[in-house]
């Protein structure tokens, strides 16, 4: 039955791991601005779209 010590300890350790990840995220300022990233993440698609359009241009410049 001592496996329960092991299991509980592991579960607590996993929880602590995620808690530390949370602290680091807060410290890095990820929770300071919770609006801009939601807009920013939508840009990526648009960027690829425009890059495709402009690739021939850039190639000709390189040549």
């Amino acid at each position: 039955m001592s496996v329960i010590y092991l299991l509980i300890s592991i579960s607590i350790l996993v929880a602590i791991f995620f808690f530390i990840a949370f602290i680091i995220a807060v410290k890095k300022g990820q929770y300071d601005d919770n609006y801009t990233p939601s807009v920013r993440m939508l840009f990526d698609d648009e960027l690829i779209h425009t890059k495709k359009e402009s690739t021939p241009n850039k190639d000709s410049e390189a040549l």
Partner: protein, 793 residues
């Protein structure tokens, strides 16, 4: 007439003025240039996210020359090393996703910029660049040239890194972590099954729970201990005392239970309580990051000014270094930072920042010029009389009222209730202790602690934050931005309202213009309008907006004489307009009236008179307010408008004219000494003292992104007529809080009946605590939203 919207900024433009470029129409060259920059750099998808997102770039030549001065730049930077520097710039124009996109792709426009990141709520962009390849000035000029002119004021000076306080997020996260894990580990205890294998692990589970509760008990709840200690020291019984007492008793009792093996303790309820109370705190803090309620003159003043040295060379110096006797130059649209004497011939100074009055004041050589005005027109030179801190306007801030913290001024409703709550609670605890001690000593200890635990006013403490937080959000959506939740309570207590006149109940954007004189023909009106278009004078802009729309004519000659008027020729028609001394060669002795005189082909026609325009809905607002409040109007102006005001306002409204900033402050103080709860509604910097002194200071702002003086609340000018509604809502929210207090006291009775009879089991506590929390939170949220909607109709 065909009107089309500018592809870049969305402004209407008349067909004749349009510039066609690349198949798109633009309203002016500036907008076209921005488009050109973007299309050259393959960045036209700026226009894909949002329709017409741009702003017309303004002429900024010379404005940022002070950024050549290394020592000034060093004060602005957040971080600097040899090949990397970071600067945060606030850009008021940031308003849509296109803005975010373009500002985060700055590196494609300018070499040397490595990354840039937008903080949308704060309207800021953080740029990392290499100072060896690109200078800060180049970046700022680039931003301005694409219509995103940063706002750099004295406030940015020496701020450097700003430390964000994230402790509440840490505390909340930690409390949630402890609460969740303890809940999980408590499950075996809830279903007390007396199974052998669960029993044998009991100590392990219990000590693990104990260990998990420690961080929440020590760190997350620390704010309550500190606040309780402070309030005991100052002799006030605030709500944090019973909370802190409850938490400590909770912990001591639970630890005692484990040590003595009486039970599992109440660690789950304890951490849950801490978590919910912190959540309430978090909910209450609705910050409008792009607004600031603490502004003083610093956010209006420039960082640097041009000093003219003895050898006539010009030099940018930080304005703190200006000394008496210096000669300084002030350019068009620049703010005068110090009091001084005008050396140049003539100056037109717009004091709208200070007084709310949009019409500029004319000064002649040798006149005294006060700080806070904005020069319009040519560059002027002046000699400094006082340094910044001793200038007329800035001295207002040395008044004692600006040193006080607002939170310390008033007591909140929760604290008032807790003044009665705490003694009653202690009384019940001791009475039941006294009763049980004769029956059973161990039960007596349990009952005593159980009473303090159950009655711990968590529901009470949650009520106000959640109600206020909800109301804060509701009124925020209606463009009434409150500094914090305390303001709502203060609003509900107000009995006297003092309004500033200029800029508050009048608007400086629209003016009431009337014409007196010979009728001007339509053709001539067209000429007039075309000429006005070329002038940047505020009166010209107002008159331009007033005159009917028409075809634009080509001006052959145009001359604007600062402080006098305009002389122009169109199609052989000569036009002269401006002050009466300029047009008629005689001075009119009517100081109370602002007018523009017109002369066409040497024939005097008449004058346009500018009257103050009162805000829409003013009359009905005042009539509504007059029923429940005492209304007073303060004005820095002369009595010119007394009659109009008396007609407009309800009978018996006190009108006080010719008030200086300090006098306004004293006026409010006087009312407060009479025992009144005063709300001040103002706008300009000259109201700053009065706004600060009053119980609630509301500043009216035509554009909330631009600046308003330090105050408790900012109201968008368009919502001015809604003031009545907001006041009503604040009263309703106090009503909601009171109802919820009754509800939570009922809960306490139920809990107490368990506690006093000695039946408080961990499971009962674990059910009662969250249940009361959830009911209270949902009750206040639903009720306050209901009142907000109901009041609206």
């Amino acid at each position: 007439m065909v009107m089309e919207n500018c592809f870049h900024c969305g402004l209407d433009s008349i067909k004749e003025d349009q510039i066609d470029f690349d198949g798109k129409t633009f309203c002016c060259n500036g907008c076209k240039t921005v488009y050109e920059i973007f299309s050259r750099n393959d960045m036209t998808c700026y226009y894909d996210f949002e329709k017409s997102p741009g702003a017309t770039p303004l002429d900024i030549s010379g404005k940022y020359d002070f950024l050549d001065n290394e020592s000034i730049v060093a004060k602005l930077l957040e971080f600097k090393e040899e090949n990397a520097a970071i600067i945060s710039l606030s850009i008021p124009h940031i308003h849509c996703s296109s803005c975010i996109w373009i500002l985060e792709n700055l590196q494609r426009l300018q070499k040397g910029i490595s990354t840039s990141q937008v903080n949308f709520p704060q309207k800021q962009v953080r740029i990392t660049y290499n100072p060896e390849t690109v200078s800060l000035k180049t970046i700022v000029v680039l931003l301005s040239s694409i219509g995103y002119e940063p706002y750099i004021s004295l406030e940015n000076y020496e701020t450097g890194k700003n430390n964000v306080d994230r402790s509440l997020t840490y505390k909340l996260g930690l409390a949630f972590f402890c609460f969740g894990n303890i809940m999980l580990l408590s499950f075996p205890e809830y279903f007390d099954m007396n199974e052998y294998w669960l029993d044998s692990y009991k100590p392990f589970f219990r000590w693990l729970i104990f260990a998990l509760s420690l961080p929440a008990f020590i760190y997350s709840a620390s704010g309550y201990y500190i606040s309780a200690y402070k309030s005991i020291k100052s002799g006030i019984l605030n709500i944090d005392i019973p909370i802190a007492l409850g938490i400590i008793i909770f912990f001591v009792r639970s630890t005692f239970d484990i040590v003595m093996d009486y039970g599992s303790g109440f660690f789950d309820s304890l951490t849950g309580l801490i978590f919910f109370m912190l959540l309430g705190k978090m909910f209450q803090i609705k910050t409008y990051s792009f607004l600031s309620f603490e502004r003083d003159f610093k956010s209006y003043f420039p960082i640097a000014i041009t000093r003219i040295n003895n050898d006539l060379s010009e030099e940018s110096i930080p304005i703190y270094e200006i000394q008496k006797g210096d000669r300084i130059a002030v350019r068009n649209q620049e703010l005068i930072p110090v009091d001084g004497i005008l050396i140049s011939d003539k100056a037109e100074i717009d004091y709208s920042f200070v007084t709310g009055e949009a019409i500029p004041v004319i000064k002649k050589s040798g006149d005294k010029v006060f700080a806070g005005g904005k020069q319009i027109g040519k560059l002027i030179e002046m000699e400094v009389l006082h340094s910044v801190s001793q200038s007329y306007l800035t001295q207002l801030w040395s008044n004692a009222i600006f040193q006080k913290k607002v939170e310390e001024k008033f007591k909140s409703i929760t604290d008032t209730i807790s003044r009665y709550f705490t003694p009653v609670l202690l009384l019940i605890a001791f009475v039941s202790l006294g009763y049980w001690i004769f029956i059973d000593a161990t039960v007596a200890f349990n009952v005593f602690t159980a009473v303090l635990i159950v009655a711990c006013p968590c529901a009470l403490a949650l009520t106000a934050p959640f109600t206020m937080g909800n109301i804060l959000r509701i009124v925020g959506n209606k463009k009434f931005y409150l500094k914090n939740a305390l303001v709502i309570e203060q609003l509900a207590k107000v009995d006297t309202i003092v309004f500033d006149k200029t800029g508050t109940i009048t608007t400086n954007i629209k003016s009431n213009i009337s014409y007196s004189g010979i009728v001007i023909s339509d053709d001539n009106l067209l000429i007039l309008k075309s000429v006005l278009r070329a002038s940047n004078h505020p009166l010209s802009r107002m008159l331009y907006d007033f005159l009917p729309e028409g075809k634009r004519l080509k001006i052959s000659e145009f001359e604007e004489i600062a402080g006098s008027g305009i002389q122009a020729t169109i199609d052989n028609t000569q036009l002269k307009m401006g002050s009466s001394s300029f047009v008629k060669n005689q001075v009119e002795n009517n100081l109370k009236q602002t007018s523009v005189h017109i002369e066409i082909n040497s024939v005097y026609f008449g004058k346009y008179i500018f009257n103050n325009h009162y805000r829409d809905g003013l009359e009905s607002l005042f009539n509504n307010l007059n029923r429940n409040y005492q209304i007073k109007v303060l004005s820095g102006d002369n009595e010119g408008e007394r009659e109009t005001l008396e007609n407009l306002l309800p009978l018996g409204t006190e009108l006080v004219f010719n008030q200086k900033p300090e006098q306004k402050l004293e006026f409010i103080k006087q009312l407060q000494n009479e025992g009144k709860n005063v709300m001040m509604v103002g706008d300009g910097l000259n109201d700053a003292g009065a706004l600060m002194q009053s119980n609630v200071g509301i500043s009216i702002s035509e554009n909330v992104n631009v600046f308003s003086p330090a105050c408790d609340a900012i109201l968008a000018a368009t919502e001015f007529s809604q003031l009545d509604y907001f006041l009503k809502l604040s009263k309703k929210s106090i009503k909601v809080i009171k109802m919820s207090f009754v509800l939570s006291i009922l809960y306490n009775f139920v809990g107490l009946s368990f506690a006093i009879t000695g039946n408080l089991q961990p499971l009962v506590a674990a059910i009662i605590m969250p249940l009361s929390t959830v009911t209270i939170v949902s009750f206040v949220t639903i009720m306050s939203s209901y009142y907000a909607r109901n009041n609206n109709n």
